[in-house]
Symmetry: D2
């Protein structure tokens, strides 16, 4: 049963000034232990090692996404748009608030290492034996399923899915603004108020009034810049590589039967892939970091070295190359091997295509990736048809290779490398 709070509650937020909570259910969701857990997971993973301000959590991002969604819906209601189904407001708000609930510590690296997907975990938490589920059920027995359906993008009302997940959704707007704020760069400053005013519910999806085109262009350009300046920053990539190698090595050791001195619950279930929802909810970045601290004392030297690198921020260096073929890579690996390095761990390559770069790719996978402009004649046009600048951004490709390696170790064997290989590692950043 829906209830309003007797008095609105607010959270002071540096990005949106205040986050307003009017519904008892939203308030209760925020106070569940599952949602509070998001305080212990950073929004930007290891980016704080590159941008020291980026220590903000998924908790604050989730509140932000909720707040933007709330403002959009409240505006739809004030304007009385016929195409907005008012009764879906609470589903949308809950999905917005909870969309990141399943994120684990250092998500990208952990997901890669252990083949998990945070969306799955979000749904498992929504539908498992959790406080969140029991709060959601106050709105009806099928309410948790509805929220999960929105997360899975198969909810019966596509406009709700579109509101919560689209190239112009509250999630992306919040993270642009928030990540820009906390890193301190000004690439992410967008005119959110203007974009919000231009959004229109229209025939089952959210479109943009065409007079808002320039604001959307600016938003897409901001995203483009943020990707290159922040999200793909090579130093951050370097820390992610170390992280992935730690997990890889620890898993190897575990599978080889190594007896870890430090392996409290739920880490074993992570390694042997038997995690329950309750296990998963115990995973947080404090635990991972503590494990790394303690693993420095394990007998395995490689694991110890990698953990020290992460903890003390002795990251891999990198060189940027315009081109790089498989043959050269093999030569480097062989040379490393011969010189006593371990190419499995001492060399990592970022290929241009490795990067999930879709700053904006409207022709990607169907309609939900598009931003549609609505004109006075009620015609819809994809923004890249109308805007030259968007068209030119969407075609761009990242063209550089990056080689990552432990500079200190490579330097000790540099004279043993063939000259043309050695040369690669000399002029580095």
């Amino acid at each position: 049963m829906y209830r309003q709070l007797r008095e609105e509650k607010v959270f002071k937020d540096p990005v949106h000034n205040y986050v307003h909570v009017q519904d008892e259910i939203i308030w209760s969701l925020i106070n569940t232990s599952e949602f509070q857990r998001l305080r212990r997971i950073r929004q930007l993973g290891t980016s704080y090692l590159t941008f020291h301000g980026a220590e903000h959590s998924r908790f604050s991002h989730s509140l932000g996404v909720y707040e933007i969604t709330r403002r959009i819906i409240s505006q739809f209601e004030r304007a009385n748009y016929a195409d907005w189904p008012r009764e879906e407001g609470m589903v949308a708000l809950c999905a917005a608030l909870l969309h990141d609930l399943g994120h684990g510590p250092f998500s990208h690296s952990v997901e890669q290492a252990f083949q998990m997907h945070h969306e799955d975990w979000t749904c498992r938490i929504l539908l498992g034996d959790t406080e969140v589920r029991s709060v959601l059920r106050r709105m009806g027995d099928d309410f948790p399923d509805k929220v999960a359906a929105v997360i899975r993008k198969d909810y019966e009302q596509p406009i709700v899915v579109n509101l919560v997940s689209s190239p112009l959704d509250a999630d992306r707007m919040d993270y642009l603004l928030r990540d820009a704020y906390f890193t301190g760069v000004n690439y992410g400053t967008i005119d959110m108020d203007r974009i919000l005013r231009m959004l229109r519910p229209y025939k089952g999806r959210i479109v943009v009034k065409d007079s808002g085109m320039h604001a959307v262009e600016d938003y897409l350009m901001s995203r483009y810049q943020m990707y290159w300046q922040i999200y793909f920053h090579p130093v951050t990539r370097s820390s992610e590589i170390i992280l992935r190698q730690i997990f890889k090595r620890a898993k190897e050791l575990y599978e080889q039967g190594h007896r870890f001195k430090f392996l409290p619950e739920p880490l074993p279930s992570l390694f042997n892939r038997t995690m329950t929802v309750q296990d998963y909810l115990q995973l947080d970045e404090a635990l991972i970091q503590t494990a790394f601290m303690q693993w420095r004392k394990e007998t395995d030297e490689l694991l110890g070295e990698l953990c020290s690198r992460f903890i003390d921020r002795k990251l891999y260096k990198y060189v940027e190359m315009d081109s790089l073929d498989m043959e050269t890579i093999e030569e480097i690996r062989a040379a490393f091997d011969k010189a006593g390095l371990n190419p499995e761990y001492d060399l990592e390559i970022d290929f241009p295509t490795d990067l999930p770069y879709d700053v904006f790719r409207p022709d990607g996978e169907g309609r939900e990736k598009q931003i549609l402009l609505l004109d006075r004649q009620e015609r819809l046009r994809e923004i890249s048809e109308v805007s030259d600048i968007v068209r030119s951004i969407s075609g761009l490709q990242r063209g550089k290779f990056h080689l990552y390696f432990p500079d200190d170790k490579v330097r000790t064997i540099i004279d043993e490398l063939p000259h043309e290989i050695a040369e690669i590692f000399v002029d580095q950043h």
Copy 2:
């Protein structure tokens, strides 16, 4: 030996835009494992439970203090002030950068629980077998001692001590600006540029040109507001109380010989107070938080409950009272005891005088607490002699009592309490 970096390095900082590093030694200090450890210690302890943006670390604050000090010194040098001893620049910069090196996790609570002082630890790290010390020694064998002397405030050049630690120092300016930025409140916005321009080295101390009086007034008012809005926020106090109780209980258990399932190094040495510098450097907030996560599964119910409260943010509620006498407190404790609660843990009181409130108290303990204004006739006057507003702030006293208690538990026994006691706990926040 002093060396300049071939090319200036910068850190992107949300508060000062860029932190500039020109000296090789500063760069090396930042890259020591002891300094990197400050990334794992929050600047504002548990305040993030009240203001979700306040997740910033002592690492970023330390860089900020360094940067402000660098700007002050570089201005002194540009203006060629006769009273500034140029050769002391590096000592001052290093002391500014490293002044918080000895902070432990959730400093205030841990220090109270285990009678430690972070200044002592800073000096022990500076002078112990550490990377920091070996970097400092590059400037001379006695350089670590010099820096430690500045921290201990007994350095032979008092102007350096005054620069690094005074009511108007880089430390205070950085934390006002930084804490305001990350919490999102605007109480802490001060015109730092103007204050810096008004600083003058003068006869062994740093004074302020009298035309900067209004800027200093504004700074002191900002501090006043920040104290009441942020630092003494009753919800933050509540989380500190839980924290202190956890440590108190864990120590009791340890001393009673309880066999903790989870007690990795260096926690035992914390409990039995045999910490070495190496132990101390392993202490961070990740470890503390992980311990709390794991202690929820200890057999001791009280410890488990307290840890859950902290982790899930089920804090104590509070009531604010204009006055409260010892007799009443004893009555409450007795009533709690009789009703089956544990007054040792289920009741905490903040007395007005408990709070180390010296927003600005020039008559406090001698000259280093004063802000002196320098006029054209080279007369010095303490700001509170000249400014009515400062005088009125410095006299102010906090006038409220706060009672903290577990609302959920008190509510179950509320009917068993004498009426006049029960009444106290009814109208709460």
Copy 3:
């Protein structure tokens, strides 16, 4: 008859981001020639000669006051407060928008020189043969009278008067924020959102929920700072003095029958005090400035000199004195006279009490000057009873005298002045 716009209109505003217009009548009022005239009148008079950014007009301020009022009312309506008379919304909005309509060029100086009051002119414009009046009449024949009554503070619904004019009204909040923004100082940054959320209509007036006390304190401290840093800045005072002297001289000349080469309408009616509403509406700062430009060529040397001073910003210098008695003033005047200066024009004194200093004076002239805090028990208390800081601010008095004079002229005769008089003018700013 009230009509809503088919689609909301917005103005981009640097202070409030967007000003939203939903009502057809507000839109029409903004487009009247009388309201557009406010674009030609600066908000801060001559302050732009001290703070070059302060070129903003009363037009933008008026939009800002309207916008804040709109937000307050819309929040009252959303919260459904029983004590807010919904039907009064449009009167309040129109009064907020139009409250400065009667301001003339460089108001303070012109009003002093010609004994006019801008409130009177606001009412004359509201009720005269003007576009504004004819727009207002669309809401009913008596609507212009209602709006004028609010301006005159004798409207039958005191809560509307209180909303539009009180120590915490939209007018003051907008000018603090706006003047801070355009001058570039950060003294005026207040947490307006929080203050607005704390406002409550209560028994015929607007009060503040007591948990908003610190935000109000901060607002009053900001005002205090803005008064001293901006509004009473001695350089601004100096330019106002020149301005007043120009008007004084021009009026003298006019009354002596001087034939001005440049005196287009409506200047003659200003001088002989026969201004009609139509004349008044032709007065703007462009005309005044053009007159000053042209008057430099009049035969009267004094007028020419004063106009040049204003146009070329060759202002009077000043000295600040802790005390100054009548006798000394008379001596200076006599000495000036003797040395060939004209004490009527070459000397101006600001007495401490000359300044309309009521940053906040709750005991001033009755209830409308008070800020009342409402607690949970529905008790009202004046803020200065509860807040030490407010009490200390409200008692403060400005303690300095300032002597203004033409430095260039005084310097030429400085040797002819008695020594103790000459000394006053030597160490100046």
Copy 4:
């Protein structure tokens, strides 16, 4: 002879926080009547009619350009770059400060109407019988000529010309930031500090270190957005059209011998093109606006109507068209003519190519239009060779036609227009 000020002076600036003046000559230049005149000329002409915050003057912009140049030079000097000729610092600073000295009121429109060029006037003022010239001569008899040469871009040291005028110069950086600040849009926020840090004097010009490429990309995207959002805003274009028509009509009347009731000096000399430097210095926006106010009472109806439109902001409406051929235009003109309108004044067309659109066009007219990136191997590359995004922006063309017309008048004769013509004017903004 060069002299430093005894104590640095500052101007509070909302964009750069403080503008610092250390040189006596800069201080004197700012205080000349010619420089003070820039206070009476708006930076953005009529844009304040679209963005009410945009009331800032060329005075504040000029200070800003000076300040940025000062920071660049001071950084060049600190880094001791070999390619920077230190002795040219003062020429560069003076040229930066004075580069807009010759701007007249509403420059673009007046220059078009009377075939003048502000650069010419800048040089005439620098070299004429002015206060500015006499101040400059303190640095040497040929110093005014040197500064003028920089303005004319034929100074013997091309690096000084390049510093003061290039696609990445202090002028453009200041106006982007300043115009964004005062209009309130956030399109113009750029990371100026980073760009400045990346600038390098190199072989007679200013280039950019290649690691600054993304910051330059962001700057160019900001400019792109500012052009479309602010500088080419159709409402601003409309006001410029009115302005141009007023001048056109007034000139026609003057040439026809019309006896203006209001035509004070120096307007006649403007009309008959006999302006001296002294005349020109009397021209400001106050005078123009006052003329428009007074001309409403002239006997010529057309002039009166146009002036009223400008003063009361009753601008022309516009329709946007994807394509428009000469034939259609002629048909519209004929139809207007037939219906009794005056196509000379009642219709204006903006052709896409009319707009001086060179957001960034490196292949334009030679080397000074380029932005060169310098890599570690000391190779120079034009940014559009390296950056896809810049390449795509630089090719973009404005594709729309705009028809401007007096909506009120057209509506009265709309039924007399041929159907297909009438249709064009119906769906307008």
